[in-house]
Symmetry: C2
Subunit: 169 residues, 2 copies
DNA sequence: CACCGTCGTTCTGTTTACAGAACGTTCTGC
DNA sequence: GCAGAACGTTCTGTAAACAGAACGACGGTG
């Protein structure tokens, strides 16, 4: 099953990233070593309890393994954390990291689309390609995204939240 | 087990909210009716596959049932969707709904704490108790949260995203 | 009142996720 | 080279999650 493989791969990624062996994680989480092996290779369909035990032992929220997959562009790495629909618009909330050393350009979105960026760290140059805005830590930018726009980190990488708000079709 | 009960209650809430009967959801999701009954009462520890089938049939993301629990105040209903820590600060991202007809007051947070509100729908009156700001749909407000502050919906309810950013201790 | 549909729960047999053991492999150090 | 340890995979028996059937409890209709 496809979902199990996706989740398994993420679990393996998390474990490796922490430098834990399979046996060590099994010991810490109380999940059997064999179980863990088959989970990571996507050959099992894990139980909620098992997933919870593993993510807790890994110090990660459950959403890390069951949440949406990150999208990676030229410079922007984004994870959809929320999506809200009201009468007028659909709003998507992304956790973003803009990597320095590259500029990511985006084509115009549907008419009426706006974007917001809240910057946590670093300084970003974002917005309409013709008139980008500069935003530092703790800052906020808002621009119309129905024209070509760009994302760029000035100096070091940028961490923040991007909200894309587009009218309902 | 506690987690299973929590998830079960959320599933039942989602189903009821959509006006679906247990049998109907079972039919649409392909999950057995008995299975569903025991899941909702927290007597079973669901499989990832089962949870996915159910949330898909309910038209909700998986995170709705496994994500963090919402916090409810006098007027503000908030769900923590993300939490980011960098060298300077911790940033928490909340999906919020401010209900009209009440004012929620918050005491001063740690020095240097700032808050941002992005409004999706409705009009909000938020910020320092001494000088609140008015924000409409698509708008943004930012204020220092190290003084007493408030949240209020003007007219109808407000939907949006709240970001709380406080310095690392 | 009896009939029938729908509701949610409980029962029944099958499938499978689980813990732990056994296994082959790859590094160490003596 | 051969112990010993650690790694990840595969095997084995048990517990439990699953689909579907059977069940009792309501609520409407003739």
């Amino acid at each position: 099953m496809e979902l199990a493989q996706e989740v398994g791969a993420r679990l393996r990624g998390l474990r490796r990233h922490r430098g834990l062996s399979l046996s060590e994680l099994a010991r810490r989480s109380g999940v059997g070593k064999g179980t863990l092996s088959e989970l990571e290779t996507g050959r099992r369909n894990p139980t909620l309890e098992t997933l919870y035990a593993l993510t807790t032992a890994l110090g990660a929220p459950l959403s890390t393994v069951v949440g949406p997959a990150p999208v990676q562009g030229a410079a922007v790495h984004a994870v959809l954390t929320d999506r809200v629909q009201d009468a007028a618009a659909v709003s998507e909330v992304y956790r973003v990291r803009i990597q320095s050393g590259a500029v990511q350009r985006s084509a115009a979105h549907a008419a009426g689309t706006t974007e917001h960026l809240l910057v946590f760290s670093g300084t970003a140059r974002v917005g309409p390609a013709c008139a980008p805005l500069k935003v530092g830590p703790g800052g906020h930018a808002r621009w119309a995204a129905d024209v070509p726009h760009l994302y760029e980190a000035v100096g070091g990488d940028v961490e923040g939240v991007l909200v894309v708000r587009y009218p309902v079709a």
